[in-house]
Structures are given as structure tokens and as C-alpha cells.
């Protein structure tokens, strides 16, 4: 037991009237909603990088956090692991997620780096025997080191591709051994800083090949978890290839990967790509590639990826609605890919962030469930499309009618369709009844 969180007791559910800032007011993990517990619905996770590896820097300022594990090699990494599991326990969090570079220091060679990662992985394995926190997903950091500055799989230098392959192999196997429910690939450097020095087609072929290798390796080692791509339009690259869900879908189709890989959708990345989060969820669900989500939010006025904890129940309710209609996230969950602000220096701030975020998720889940249970909303939307289930609509979708047929029909029956109210304000008010 370290003394990092000294004086902080395990966070309990105390109900909506509690004024204890270190209690859950809405997240009651065993409370049953639509037939499953809150924990089973949300499957929340802590992101190792933001809470333990990030130092508080920004483009105009250095480290603000003062953590005893910084600058201390493998000893620091071990201390960090201890503190991490203490946070998981304090929060009673069922999951966590990690990048290799978050958990262990880089070595002089890939082999040494991988050994470092495995050494910490063994510590994780031991801790997971007694902790209830499981691994939601693992991933390889293919963006921080300068060797990846021009891409990993999409680097102009094939040796960088090879290096990345060696790194992914290691983390994929570790994820498998730790029972990770998913494996994520986020291509922060798979894109470009300037199109002037870039061959898009060439680089996409490289990326397609890389993903096939990952799929093949997962099959080879018997890993059954879901492989996920996390879309993001930009930052750090000026333009990333996995721009958004629609872009990823086209890419997966082109390289015949769409039955193997799904999306890990982050709130803030949706926003940066000029979509609402619920749009990305609905689209991914309709395309069959909704895998998991990264819970956070973006500042509405910032053009960069702020990775703040979620705090708006109305917004998150719409997301939960999409997920519930999709039948849940299966092996996915809600990873808090969120960091406390660089001015939030205190250990307790790490708890405030997660508690607030999880309470927002809990309220949102309950609101979305109530909306569905009430049924008025779904009925209203279904009624809007009723014409497609029979007669003309059914025939059109069934491929029975041509342009000629339809043109003739319009003329013959003098069809002159009258618009009907889209009822947006009514629907917004209806939703607001539940949030």
C-alpha cells in the first residue's frame, strides 16, 4: 500500500442526496437496469496513460504534476502500477486499459522495451488475481517515440513498419495473456503533416497489410478478443487516415477487413470530425462495426483534443440510447480516455474526475433506459418510417421497381406527396422528460 492516496477511502454509492464529493451519487454498480446491472451495461475502465503517465504538459508548458514515479525507470514503473491498482480499487472500477509505453520505460532496443513491458505485465497479472479489475483493452503506443514521427505502419521506411510490428506482437500477446477483452489500434501518426511529401495510396496499402498481419497473428495465438480501430480526424497528425467511422468503414471494406475489425469511438474525436458522438455510434451500429467507446468530452471552443471527463447527462443519454438499441457493446465498454486538467494537481482530483464521469454515465444509462421503457419515443420514430414496411416502400426496397416504373406510377396516380412535420421540438422535449 503506497501513501499516494493517503486519507482517501474507497468510493461508495451514497445516493443522489449525498454531499460527499468522494462518493458515487448515481453509479450503483449492482443496480439492475433493463435486465443487467449498471456495471454490466457500462463496463467502465480507467485509462492508464492519462491518469498515471501524463505529466500535465501542454504545447506551451511543461510538467505540472508531481508524481513520485516520474523519472525513475523500472522502479518508478512498479510504483506506478501499485498506485494504479490502488486507484482501481478505490473506485471499484471493473476495467482498465493501457499502452505499452505507459506502463514501462523504453529500453535501448525493441527487445529490451518489450521485456520491460512484460515485466510490468507480470505484475499486472499478479495484481489481477486479487483485484476485481480486468483488462478492457491493451494497445501499443506507436506515436510518441520520434521513430514514429512519420507514421508506424504508414512510414516511408519499411524498417519502422517492422519495428511497429514487433511492438504490436508483444502487446497483443500480453493482452491475450491478461485476458483483455479487446485490442485497440489508434493511428495517431498514420496520416500526414503535409500532403506534399505523402503518397496516400501507398500508405493505405501499407496500413491494410499491417492490419491483416494483426488479424492473422491474433488467430494464430488464439486470441478471441475484438480488434478495434479508433478513428480520429487529426492531432497529432494534420490529417489522419482513420478520420471517422465512415472513413474507417470504407478502408475496412477496401482491404476486406470489415468482418474482422470494429471501431472504438471516442466522444471528442467525433466532435473533432464535426459529428455528434451519437451520430458516430448510430452510423457504426448500422454498419455493424460498433465495438467500444472512449468516454470523455471536448471543450466546445477548443480545436484540440481536450479529453475532459464527461459531464453532460443530456448528451450522454443520447449516446446510451444508441448503444442500448444496438444491444449493448458486447466485449466493449466505456473507457475513460480522459484526463484531469493540468491544473488539477492533487491525487484527489484523479478521483473527482472518474467519480463525476461515472455518475454522468449512470444517470445517462438510467435516462436512456427510461426513455426506451416508456416507448413513446421509439413509437414516434417507427411511425415516421412505417411506409417502408409495406406496399410501395417495400417494393422499392425489394428491388421490384425501376425508375420507369416509379415515374409511370407518379404520373398515373398523380402522386404529389405532402410533407409532414419532422417534430424536432416535440422530440427534444420528450427526451428532456427523461434527463
Amino acid at each position: 500500500m503506497t501513501d499516494f492516496f493517503k486519507g482517501i477511502s474507497p468510493v461508495k454509492f451514497e445516493g443522489a442526496n449525498s454531499t460527499n464529493p468522494l462518493a458515487y451519487r448515481h453509479y450503483n454498480k449492482d443496480e439492475v437496469v433493463l435486465g443487467k446491472t449498471m456495471e454490466e451495461h457500462i463496463r467502465p475502465g480507467v485509462a492508464y496513460w492519462h491518469s498515471f503517465a501524463w505529466e500535465g504538459g501542454d504545447p506551451f508548458g511543461g510538467r505540472t504534476f508531481d508524481r513520485p514515479w516520474f523519472d525513475n525507470g523500472m522502479d518508478g514503473a512498479k510504483l506506478k502500477a501499485d498506485v494504479a491498482f490502488e486507484l482501481f480499487d478505490l473506485l471499484d472500477m471493473p476495467f482498465f486499459c493501457f499502452h505499452d509505453a505507459d506502463i514501462a520505460p523504453e529500453g535501448a532496443t525493441l527487445a529490451e522495451s518489450n521485456r520491460n513491458v512484460r515485466a510490468i505485465g507480470e505484475i499486472f497479472a499478479r495484481k489481477m488475481e486479487t483485484s476485481r479489475t480486468k483488462l478492457l483493452w491493451g494497445t501499443a503506443n506507436l506515436f510518441s517515440n520520434r521513430r514514429y514521427m512519420s507514421g508506424a505502419a504508414t512510414n516511408p521506411d519499411p524498417e519502422v513498419f517492422a519495428y511497429a510490428a514487433g511492438q504490436v506482437k508483444n502487446v497483443l500477446e500480453l493482452t491475450h495473456e491478461l485476458g483483455g477483452a479487446n485490442y485497440v489500434l489508434w493511428g495517431g501518426r498514420e496520416g500526414y503533416e503535409t500532403l506534399l511529401n505523402t503518397k496516400i495510396g501507398q500508405e493505405q496499402d501499407q496500413m491494410g497489410r499491417f492490419l491483416h498481419m494483426v488479424i492473422e497473428h491474433a488467430e494464430k495465438i488464439g486470441y478471441k478478443g475484438q480488434i478495434l480501430i479508433e478513428p480520429k480526424p487529426q492531432e497529432p497528425s494534420k490529417h489522419q487516415y482513420d478520420f471517422d467511422v465512415a472513413t474507417v468503414y470504407g478502408f475496412l471494406r477496401k482491404y476486406d477487413l470489415h468482418t474482422k475489425i470494429k471501431c472504438n469511438i471516442e466522444v471528442g474525436h467525433a466532435f473533432l470530425a464535426n459529428h455528434s458522438f451519437e451520430h458516430e455510434l448510430a452510423l457504426a451500429a448500422s454498419l455493424g462495426i460498433l465495438g467500444s467507446v472512449d468516454a470523455n468530452r471536448n471543450d466546445l471552443q477548443s480545436g484540440w483534443d481536450t479529453d475532459q471527463f464527461p459531464n453532460s447527462v443530456p448528451e450522454t443519454t443520447l449516446a446510451f440510447y444508441q448503444i442500448l438499441k444496438n444491444g449493448g457493446l458486447n466485449s466493449g465498454g466505456w473507457n475513460f480516455d480522459a484526463k484531469v486538467r493540468r491544473q488539477s494537481l492533487d491525487p484527489a482530483d484523479l478521483l473527482h474526475g472518474h467519480i463525476g464521469g461515472l455518475d454522468v454515465l449512470a444517470r445517462s444509462l438510467k435516462a436512456a433506459a427510461a426513455l426506451i421503457t416508456d416507448g413513446t419515443y421509439d413509437k414516434t420514430v417507427d411511425a415516421r418510417y412505417a411506409g417502408w414496411n409495406e406496399g410501395l416502400g417495400k417494393d422499392i426496397l425489394g428491388g421490384k421497381l425501376s425508375l420507369d416504373d416509379l415515374a409511370a406510377k407518379v404520373d398515373a396516380e398523380n402522386i404529389n406527396p405532402q410533407p409532414r412535420s419532422g417534430q424536432q421540438e416535440y422530440l427534444e422535449n420528450l427526451i428532456n422528460r427523461f434527463v
Copy 2:
């Protein structure tokens, strides 16, 4: 001969030193560049809607233009056609483009509307016998009339789908008869104003079916022109399905249309989707779906679609480079989907817009051609990727190596790739030598 352009003489090429505002200073249509004339490279066109149908309104103000053909039914439409061809002739423009609703007034029924369109189509046909202006593409306006407020193919009401089908059939056939080189579909209302009342998957299936009908009808009537989709992220809809090139590609793949349909890429739409225009071109080229372009520009500070005439040679040069590397646009061209500002009231302003735009295209074409002819730029980029043409790179792309193979190789050879300069500033300066 109407008196609309009274006092304006045909626009001639007078060379870069001319101070005549109604002369081309750079566009010399017969000048040969990289083996083709400027006209063959650019294939520029006038957009009927912006120059003749738009009234100068904006969300906070009504009509500013005072055109003698407004508010005058079929007589107005005929006068408008006369003036349009006078502009084509004055500009010596090889192409034009139109929507059905631009050229003829809506009738009481679809049949009457279509008849009106055909009547003007016949006038076009007669004019085209003596004019050198051809049809770059035709399209149906499926967005202005209130019946389409909730979508055309993606409307919740199948009768609206049928109505749209009858309209497209008519314009597709007219386009065929007029020898149109392409047929365009722009889905301004194929999207949503609020996700709250929308079933994305249902609507996409409708759109997929609609496009198949269009392809089938084109084949049935023997139309050989290219069918094009024009991506746009939003406006008028809050979110359009054809968001950008990548999104359209995924959609085409899903509905197995990617060998039949290409993209008509508009500068301002690329910008609204948070891409550079050259990105959209390069991506479409790499995916094999680069069809045609809509030449314009967006105001850099406006969040709406400003459709201004192009005026930046450096920007357009990068676009031409992508097109030249693609081997040109084939049946496509550069349609000026651009309008003079609502304060540009005078008939001469219509000429200023097109002359300035065409001169920018001409300078850009010559600059891109010179860049390619010089060869330094291409050589520099090719060298960056040279590693993928042999040895390790070739084996990776050739599918000969697995994650295990690569990991073993990195270890065995102690591979530790060193980054190389991306040379962005050098390349930018190199480009600037030619613009």
C-alpha cells in the same frame, strides 16, 4: 440577341500585361500544355443555377439581383436560356451544367414540370447546334421544393422517393439526349436535421437502392456518361450522408456501386468537411473514384458554403498537380459552381467572376505542369518511399512476412530505424518556385 450584356464584347486572351478587366490574361484556350490544349485540360463550365437562377438572397435578406427573366414562367425561362448562351459565347466557354429546376419553372404536377424542362431542353439542343458550348453534366434538383425537405431518396415517405425517381429519369434522359458527359447526384437533403427522428441504416438502404435504379436506367437507355456523386458534409442538412470522398467510398462499397460511380469534388465542400481540396482529390484518385470537380472557394472564416470563384493560384496549383498525376479527369471538367456575391449586381460582374476564375485555373495548370516537367519534386517524393519497392518493403507488401517474422527480424538485426527529415519547408519553397 438580348440586350442583357449590352456593350460587352467577347472575352479574348490578351496576355498577362493586359489591363482590360474583360480579357483573359492567362487562359489561352489553344495553348498546349503537357501535350493537350488548356481547354482540353480544364474543360471549364458555367453553372446555370448560380449565374442565372440565384437571386442574391441570403438567410437574412431577399433578392438583390434585378434580372428580366425572374417571375415570368416559361417566357422568363426562355429569355434566361438566351442570356445563358450569350454568356457562354461571350466567355467562349466549352461547357455548362444545369439542374432541371434552374432552367424551367415547376409545374402543377411532375408531368408538367418535366414537360417544362424538356421544352427548355429542346431550346438548348437547338442552341447547341450553333454554339460550341457542350453539356458537362445535368442533374435534378431534389432539394429546393418543400416536398424534399426531409430527403428525396432518403425520405421517410416512399412517395417522395417515387417522385424523385420520376424527376431523375427525366433529367438523366435529357442529359443523354444533349450529349452530357456526366450525370451528377448531389444529396443536399439526403441526411438529417436531427438524428432524433432519423434511422440512418434505413435511409442508407433507400439511397443505395435509388442509386442502383439510376445505374440500371442509364444502362437501359444506353447512356455512357459517368455517374457522379458530389460529397458535402452539411448545408442545407445538418448532416449529409455523402460527407466527403472517404464516406462516399464506403457507401459505394457497401452497396457494391464503387465500380459504377465516381465523385464530383467541390473545393468548398472539401473545406467544410475539414479537408484540403487536394486531399480529397488525392484520396479519390487513390480509390479510383475521381470523376470531376466543382471549381470554387470557401471564405476561410465562414462556416457556410460560400461558393466564391477561385482566386488563389498557389492553392489551385496543388489541385491541378493531383489531377495531372491522375492522368486528368477523363469525362470530367472544372464546373464553376460559384456565384458572384449578392452585392455584385451588374451583368459585367458575371463576367468578372468567370474570367478571374478561369485565369486562376490557367495559371495553376501551367504551374503544375512546370512542376511536373521540372521533375525535382516528384523525384524527391519518390525517393522518400523508395524502400517499399524492394527488399523488406516489397516483401511486406507482398504478404510474405508475418508479425512473428518481422519481430524476429528486428531482434536479429537489431533494427533501430532513425527518422529522416520530412523536408516540408524545402518542398513548400520548391512549389513556390512555380506559382
Copy 3:
């Protein structure tokens, strides 16, 4: 009594459990919060233009609404006035706001236009004798007619300035006669479409002179209401002079108007200027120019001014907090500068928009009041700045210390200030307890 709202009964407060979509669930006008009734706090108003004059058009589509008063001159205007007051009554709305051009048709001359406005003004006066709805503010529409396309007060043509003056004089006097609590100036065309044809300094001088004339005229006729400027960064102009609160403040200072004029702050305009609404409120309050607010919201992904009804309690609570800390809005109120979507065709939709918006305001008012009553939040923020109330902080602000003094003190006392947590997540969670 017209039959426009046939079948719709007056909207009553029915409490949070009501499922009646045409009832208030939170807005209980006589409920007392922090010593005043909800109605006194909110002072809500209907905007005549959006609900009665807007036709449902957008840049790509025409009228969607089917209102019996359209296209019918003064008879239509009278019917419109009847229906407007019916809506005010149905909603039990204490205020409304209007532009001259919303209420009466333009005549052939300014004199005729002004007479038309006065004729409807007299109808308003009569209706206001029996209705409880009062005038929150009036304003002149100096942007829709083509004569204003290049500005009103800032037009290059002094005759346009004169025309605008004649229009403002008329509406200012009518506002005075109708007991309007405020008079608003929104400069939609006071800006530019291109800087290329614009002299900023010249135009600002014109605008300064215009505002002085308005102030002088108000004093001359004895009008005691507050004169307000409504900031907006752009749309319809590419760049408007009244960009945001800070810009307006500098302008008022330059022309020595800052003690005479305050701001009417619109939610969506704050967003378009890349500020949060609460920022604009807090800034205006600190500068002493917070006058009134336009309640609406902007679509988060649209770059244009969407003027939707407010629907987020968390967001609006932060706004109410700023207003309550400012001691309220005095003569100002919450004007619903919001329109139902162009697909919301039904008369009932007009009610849904206002009911939902007003319920959001009511919930937000109560949440902000509870936050203040609880006191924890204010105490936390006060504590953060406590150092400025005494000792060093007080001496600095009191002007007692120079750079030399402070440098010497830092050296002498070896001052090395340690940062303290900004507590953002804690504060966000605290706020979330009340929303």
C-alpha cells in the same frame, strides 16, 4: 379568434410528472425563487419574426410553412397580429419582441412603410390593453431589404444612412409608445462581405455617429428604456463590426457610448464568436454592459446561426448563475430568438418550441438558485482569490507597489509560489449536483 391554433388549449403548469406535451412541466410562473417569481426572473418573450414572419426557407430551399397570412399585404399583417397574440395568450407569455418589417409589409416609400408599421402598432396597442403580454423590445430591420445589402449606418452611400435613420426613428417612437422596456440594434449588415472594398475606420465613424443620434433621439422623446446592441460575429455579413461583447465594449468606449448602451447577448452568437454563452455574460457583467439575452442555442456542428430553442439545462444553468450574480437583467429578459425547424410545419410545433425552451429556463433558474443558496460553490471560488483582499494583493491593486518593489520583495523573501489545484473536476461535479 382565428382558427390557426384550433384545438389547442392554453398551456398550464402541470408539474414534472405530466406527460402532456402541451403543458409546462417546470415553468410555474408564480413560483418564488430567491425572492422573485419565475416570471420576474426570466421575463420571457416571443420573437415575432421567427414565429410569424419566417417562412421556413434556407439557402437551398424555399418556404415550407403554410401560413394563411403570407402574401397578403396589410390584411395578412392583421391576421398575423391576431394569431401572434393568440400564441402569446396560449403560452401565457409576459413579453414579445418585434422588428418593423416582421409586423407590416414594406410600402413604396419609407413614409408608407412607416405608416404600415404604425397601423399594426395601433393594433398591438389595442391588444395589449386586454392581453397581459408586454413589449420587451422593438427594433428596426436594417438588413433584409436590398437597399441595406452594403450596410445601413455603415453604408458607403449616405442616403442609406438617412433612410435607416428614418426607419429607426419610427420604431424607436413606436417602442416608446408601446411601453417597450428596451430598444435593440442588431447590425447584421454593419460589417463587410470583403475587406477589399471596405474602409473600416470610415464605417466605424458612421456607426458611432448613428448611435449617438439614436441616444439623442431617445432623450428627446423621453424614452427611458435601455438601448441595446446585439453582438454577432458574422452572418449575414462575412465579418460584422459588433463581433462579440468585448468588441462592442471597445467600440462603445471609443465613441464614448459605454455609459448609455448595453448588450443584448444571444447564445448562438456567443458560440459563433468562439465563446461560451456564460463567458459573454460574465464579461458583460464585469464591464457593466449586461442588458438582456436572446435565448436559443446553436447546433454544435453547424457553422451558421441555427437559432434553435434552448434544450440543455446544464448549459443554461451556468448562464443563469452569471445573471443571478449580476443581480438579474433589470429591464432585460429572455427573448426566445429561436425558430422551430423548417420541417416543423404544424401550428403545435410553435408551442412545443416555446414550452420546451421555457421549461429549460425554469429548471436552469432553479438549479442556479439552489447552487447559490447552497453556497459551497461561491465559497470555493472566493477562497481561491482571497489573497487579493489583503496584504500583498491589496497593495498591488491599490497601486502601492512598482516593478522594482515587487522584484526586490521576491528576492528579499525568496518568494517561490507553489501552484494549487484549480479543482476543475471537483467544481464540475459540484455543479452537476444541482442540474
Copy 4:
């Protein structure tokens, strides 16, 4: 002489036909344009921080550059100074700019930090005796160290204010001693990360007091250079107080500083604030607060401050036009607040960035001068406003007419002003003749 730029010869002007990437093709410092040499017009400077202190990191990756002076305390700082002046000499650059933190390592106390800065300052002084490079401006870095995370002058802790005062005193005096033409204040942390913990009015009062102290100290020590504020809307803070030129003007007015302080306007900051650069220049000129400029450009698709070297002649020409019409920048100049991309690893890349940027400035200067010399453009714009120089316009601006007078005049003379073309396309084409 270090070997950092080994093999690179001094950059000479070789003319537009040169293909030497390390030559000026347009910047010919002694060439006379409108009566002054290019160097006198542009007064270009190198920014110490970007070229020598920045390590190539970004939010997702660490240092990419490999500079021999990194991590080496005062010895490194001395080597850095040597290399810096070698670059100034190679580029024949007349100016440079610096922050205290760029040039010397932070010490354990403010006193030690200031001594370090002074030690390097003495090295600068010695080098400046033999180099022709002068100091355009100095500034204190009040944003990188964690003590400033919540602001410097606007910090909730008065001791941070005092610390900042001690730092500014030191750099202001050093700037004075080095003959710096200006002293700049950029308030990267003077703003907030969340309004929830912030008192805007309190913080603005602190900032006002701080600036008065700076002015008073400059007067006390006899410093005659211009004091400048550099506006920026955000980054690193979520919202900065010096948002843009208009905001700074209002602030200066409020605290009665507008006759003492001017603006240093950065291209990319204008863009982030949703203005064109030329707008900020024109506005500042009209307000009398145009001081100096930071030359760079922003990526058009990135939401963050990319600080790239300028590369668009058309854009920069419009900026130069505004500056030339303002009579130049007086003590100001064009500081390259620009950095080579993090992938531009080679020493030569530092030269490519500055050469390309300076050539763009030179072309733009010549283009703007030619535009002015030609005179057509100015005449066209003057003619547009001619009505304000006499008769009605003159009387309005002269304060001779009231709303009543104008209204009466419109009626009496039946004034009905007709709009005139804004000629935007004509003017754009006219400009394009010169770029």
C-alpha cells in the same frame, strides 16, 4: 564558429531564376521599393524560441530534434547563442527576438534565473557589436513554468504576480540595454481553463495594474521602445483575455492604456480568432494601435496554433497593403514566429523555413507596392465612399443632423437609395494582377 551549420554558406540573393534552395530568389535587401529598401520595409527577425529552444514535441510525442545544446545548462545556452548568431549571419537577418526562458536555463530562484538571463544577455551584447543583427523585441516567458499554470498577472495568488513582475523587470531592462526596438507581452496564461473557477473582473483589474507597472517602469528607466500586447484567443488557455485586436483595444481603453500600448499581431492568432490577418491589421491601424507583426501561417484545417512559415503570396500581399497604407510599422517589424515542422530535423531545414518565408514577404511587398503605385485599386475604393466627403455625408459625420432631420429629409426628397455593385470579383481580379 560551431559546426552546426557545417557546409552551409551565407544565403545570397540570386534572383527568381535561381534553383539553389539556399538562396533568396526574391528578397534583395537593398532593393528600393516605394522609397525604402526591402530590409527597411520588412525589418524581418528570427524568433529565438522556435528555432533554438523548441524540441519538436507535440501533445502526443516528445523531442524529435537532436541539438547539441539541449540538456546542458549554461554551457548549452552559450552554444545555443553561438549557433543562433551563426544563423542570423547566414540569413543576413537584421533582427531577432527572444524570451528570457529561451536563452538561459531557469535557476533555483528568480534571482538566479535572472542572472542566467543577464549572462547570456552579455554574450548577445558582445555578439551584436560585430553582427549586424539587432534586437526587434524581448519578452518574458510567463507561461511555461508550472508556477504560471493559472496565470501570471492574473493568477489568484498575488505572489505569482510579484514573481512575474520580477521577471518582466529583468527582461525589460535587458531589452533596453540591448537597444531592443520594442518590448512584447503575450498573455498565454492570462485567461482561464474553466470559467467555473475564475473571476473575470478581478483578473482583468490585476492585468490592468500589471501593465501600468510595466509602463511606469519603462518610463523610469528611460526605455523609449514601443510596448506591445500580442493578442491570441486561446491555446494554451481555453480562453485568453487578449482575444483579438478589438478585445485588446477595449481593455486598453478601460484601463486608460490605449495611448501607451500597441499590438503585435500574429497571422495565426488572427486566424484562430476567426479573422483574416488583414482584418486585424486594418482594424488596429484604424484604432491607432498597429505596432508589429508575427509572420507565420496556420494550417487551415488545424484547430491549434501551428506557427508555420508564411508561404502564400496572395494572402501576405493583402497584409502588406494594409501596412503600407498605415505608413509602415515604425519600430515594429516582421518577426518570424514560425517553426519548422517537427519532422524537419536537419539544420538546413531552419534555413529553408526562413528563406521561403522571407521570399514570400519580399514578393508580397513588391506586389502591394505595385498595387498602390498603379492606383486603380485605391481610386476604386475611394470612389465608393466619395459621398461622405461632402453634402449629406459630411453633414451627418459633422454632427449637424438628427434622426428627425434625416427622417424629414427622406420624406421630403422621397429618398430611395439604389444599391450599387460591390464589385468584389472585379477587385479580386485586380489584386490578382499584382500577385
